[in-house]
Amino acid sequence: MKFAYFPGCSLKGLGRGYEESLLPVLRHLGVEFEELDDWNCCGATAYMAIDESKACVLAARNLALAERAGLREVLAPCAACYLVLNKTKHYFHDYPAMKLRIDRALAAVKLSYAGETPVRHPLDVLLNDVGLDAIKQRVVRPLKGLKVAPYYGCQIVRPYATFDDQENPVAMDLLLEALGATVVRYPLKTKCCGGSLTGTVPRAGTRMVYILLNEARKRGADCLATVCPLCQFNLDAYHAQVESRYGTPVLPTVYFTQLMGLAFGLPEDQLGLRRAAVRLTWRPPDPAATPAVAPAPAVDAAPS
């Protein structure tokens, strides 16, 4: 079965490192997918603020395209896209008036949506379709010694995720452990990163980023792992502001797929690690070589 890969705007823009690492990892694990042809913006949170039915119509076009292409499931790596696509599906079923509007709008461009296609997140697919055993088998360079704070953010667990617990999701914890990393207990794992507030109300946004980074640092994490391009952007790119306002909790934030790529021994330059402002320089020890005596510093802070 092939997935309809829905990258969303972020993975083609600020979240490029996510796509760059996700696609090789999926291929490496034999997950078949093709990019949804002529996909459009999912509607996203900003659109919801203007007109809910317009947002739903935008999302529904993508779902309709996937159905037309005969692809059974949509793969949405961006947490915001994941939420909006799922929300649209729920509204389509729960509210006849919304269904009517969606049907009407799609008919205007000769599309139709049956409301069946599941929308799934790569974390769900990797854990439940590929399975931890298959992932473990691919690990050639276990992430031994790397302490990771698993950061899920909001929108993949709330309010529509069905594959994990809303209060205490563990999918990424299990995945990281399978890669050989040490998972630190991170009570802020589902707290909000501030979303677009970093740009719109910077003081509120950067404070939230600071709290997330600082708590991870206090708990001894070497890095945070995320599943969402906006979370990664906020935690990574606003480092300078956080630093100037609160002090320096310098801590890299990587996509979970980048850590998978490292553990699978995929070529490093294909994993988009250089896209980060605060780069993860830690590398898994080569199991064949003797253990390194002096570990390199984990972090390469951005020059300022």
Binding site: D165, E167, N168, P187, L188, I211, E215, K218
Partner: protein
């Protein structure tokens, strides 16, 4: 049974029920309409038919107009059918020449369009008028009531009901699942609002149960089967082995001291697993019966699934018991049958499982406790002898008590558990007394509606306990400030102040709600009761029959019917005992004569009815090749009537002719 369709004289009465019916249904119009129907001699509307003047109106008309059929359109027959049948009977008419029409619960209370409601009332009245013509005179059957009572569950409700009955001279069988009676109340330290010591007021009653000549107490027992009907139940009771002979054990507990386990090392359920016990133990010092028991899960003697002495077990308990020979490793499960006339179900509640609200950190943070754990923690006979020492060894300086955990929450239990506000305040008082700590109560609303409850709330305010109105968002261990380091932080909106607060504490108490026992559904089926949507047992009527169930002769008391505090539980247990006694003292029950019967001439002898009857009331006579029904066994469901291919089976009160008339009456266009 003679159906006399000749000279049928119907009297019809439609009730306004004050405004309850009259405000939607045009009662005079209904009465006027019915007047035109065949056989109707009198048709009237009246404000309150169930009142004495209403009933007298019917009786007067029966005499004056020689009425021989009565129809009353008012409330549900489940409420007042009995009233009107008695009134009809008092006027000299057979009570079964009566039919009731439900135009309140099924019409005026559920419809808003007056025209449609009045139309429907007309149709229902017409159906009853047509039906009643086909009614027959029937005799009420009387069945004797067995004078013994079964009480299921020996918490405070079961104990009080059993003692009330026993003191009145009734024989009571009291069955309890646990090895001791006492239920949840035995675990409490003090009781609100009087702060009576729970043990001081409960244990005298417990020992009275243990020694009462009229009470047969079976602990470690469960009712597994129930047959029969009101007045004549047969209950099957299964008892788990205790491995100690109750008649021989004197409760000296020397065996416990001599057990090969020198230290108590197994979690103690009575102390909410905060303390430890040995494989041979007594749940708590005042346990009733004062008999030890052995836990086969951990006793070495039972290791490897054999009763031979294992390597390490020296059977020192047997030696300690000596001459008394009370310890018996060969005990097995036993079952027995008893006959009783009435049953009181008092199976209680379970507390909400706090693991279902992970945001409050139970299981993650050792210093988060359930309220029941704190009851044991402040109890002088508890695991810490009343010292409030946290799991991490510290003494708390600040304590947060979170109300409504697993109550008033659509995601878990949506009902208010009624007792949590008060017990939270009681625990706040006790914790303050024991520790002097700062105490914060986080509540949605304070519900203190009992006698002296509001005064208790005042007292707590006086003691300096903080009350913060707000449902807690989360309990975490991440610090924003130095004063929060190493503490549990409660994040909550102080809704009266209008802002969010973060409050660091050392200890969090979760005031768990009450919910139905895990096996409430099985118990309900066993006793043929109903459950409400929350899963608590359903009373027959919330106001007028609060301890009755839909099965005659079976009563409910205590928290199995819904959350309530001790005073209410005791009152309800007394009421259930009185209801049982009323049946016993009368000596008989009247049975609705709705049994099925066979007209032998029509029976083709096909036997299809025989296996249908769950009560084996139908037998087949091989000599005559006809089936017959034992009316004493028939419960009147009518399933065989509907199934008989030759139409030879009939049912009193639900004759085909009566139902067909009713159908026709409902549908004829007026």
């Amino acid at each position: 049974m003679v159906s006399s369709s000749t000279d049928v004289r119907v009297g019809f009465y439609v009730c306004h029920c004050g405004h309850n019916i009259g405000s939607i249904v045009d009662c005079p119009a209904v009465a006027h309409y019915v007047e035109s129907l065949p056989n109707v001699v009198v048709s009237r509307d009246y404000k309150y038919m169930c009142s004495d003047p209403g009933q007298e109106l019917i009786q007067k008309d029966i005499a004056e107009f020689r009425l021989n059929r009565i129809v009353v359109a008012s409330c549900s027959p489940l409420l007042h059918e009995r009233t009107f049948r008695a009134a009809v009977s008092a006027a000299g008419l057979n009570p079964y020449f009566f039919q009731m029409v439900n135009i309140r619960e099924h019409v005026s209370w559920v419809h808003t369009d007056a025209t449609a409601a009045t139309d429907k009332a007309r149709a229902l009245a017409r159906a009853a008028v047509l039906r009643v013509a086909a009614h027959c005179a029937l005799e009420v059957k009387r069945v004797p009531v067995h004078p013994d009572v079964l009480v299921v569950g020996a918490g405070i409700a079961g104990i009080h009901a059993a003692l009330t009955l026993a003191n009145a001279g009734r024989k009571v069988f009291l069955v309890e699942r646990e090895p001791t009676i006492g239920g949840h109340m035995a675990k409490f330290d003090k009781t609100f609002p009087t702060l009576d010591c729970a043990a001081c007021i409960l244990t005298p009653k417990m020992s009275e149960v243990g020694t009462h000549p009229n009470i047969t107490l079976w602990t470690c027992g469960e009712v597994v089967k129930l047959d029969g009907y009101v007045g004549n139940f047969t209950a099957t009771i299964r008892r788990r082995p205790r491995y100690v002979n109750e008649d021989l054990c004197t409760g000296c507990q020397e065996c416990i001291a001599r057990c090969v386990f020198k230290e108590a090392k197994f979690p103690d359920a009575f102390n909410e697993r905060l303390g430890k016990r040995k494989p041979i133990y007594i749940p708590f010092p005042q346990a009733t019966p004062q008999v030890v028991l052995i836990d086969p899960e951990v006793c070495l003697n039972f290791k490897r699934g054999t009763t031979t002495v294992s390597g390490r077990c020296k059977r020192t308990c047997v030696d300690a018991c000596g001459e008394r020979h009370a310890i018996d490793f060969t005990q097995t499960e036993t079952t027995g049958e008893i006959k009783v006339g009435t049953i009181i179900v008092a199976t209680g509640f379970q507390t909400f499982d706090v693991k279902r609200v992970p945001q409050y950190g139970y299981g993650t943070f050792p210093n988060v406790y359930t309220a029941l754990e704190v009851e044991r923690l402040v109890n002088a006979s508890g695991p810490t002898a009343g010292e409030v020492v946290l799991r991490d060894g510290h003494r708390p300086q600040a304590i947060g008590i979170i109300h409504c955990v697993g109550s008033r929450d659509k995601k878990t239990n949506r009902w208010c558990s009624r007792v949590c506000c008060m017990y939270s305040m009681k625990l706040a008082h006790l914790l303050k007394e024991h520790t002097g700590a700062e105490i914060y109560n986080f509540y949605i609303d304070i519900r203190a509606p009992g006698k002296s409850y509001e005064e208790f709330y005042d007292k707590l305010n006086e003691e300096g306990v903080h009350f913060i109105r707000g449902r807690v968002g989360e309990v975490t261990d991440w610090a924003m400030r130095d004063e929060e380091e190493g503490k549990l932080v409660i994040r909550v909106e102080d809704t009266l102040a209008g802002f969010v607060r973060r409050i660091p504490v050392d200890m969090v108490v979760l005031s768990t709600g009450l919910e139905p026992q895990a096996d409430a559904q099985q118990v309900r089926r066993l006793f043929n009761m109903s459950c409400g949507s929350e899963g608590f047992f359903l009373e027959r009527h919330p106001k007028l029959a609060p301890v009755n169930t839909f099965t005659d002769g079976i009563f409910i008391a205590g928290c199995c019917q819904g959350p309530r505090d001790i005073p209410d539980t005791v009152a309800q247990a007394g009421a259930a005992a009185a209801e049982a006694m009323a049946l016993i003292d009368r000596g008989y029950v009247e049975q609705e004569p709705n049994t099925a019967y066979i007209v032998p001439d029509d029976c083709s002898g096909c036997k299809s009815c025989v296996p249908l009857c769950p009560y084996t009331a139908i037998t087949f006579d091989e000599a005559t090749k006809k089936a017959s029904i034992n009316e004493a066994l028939c419960k009147g469901c009518g399933t065989c009537v509907a199934a008989c291919p030759s139409g030879s089976i009939h049912q009193h009160l639900f004759e085909d002719e009566q139902v067909f008339s009713e159908i026709e009456g409902l549908l004829v266009h007026s």
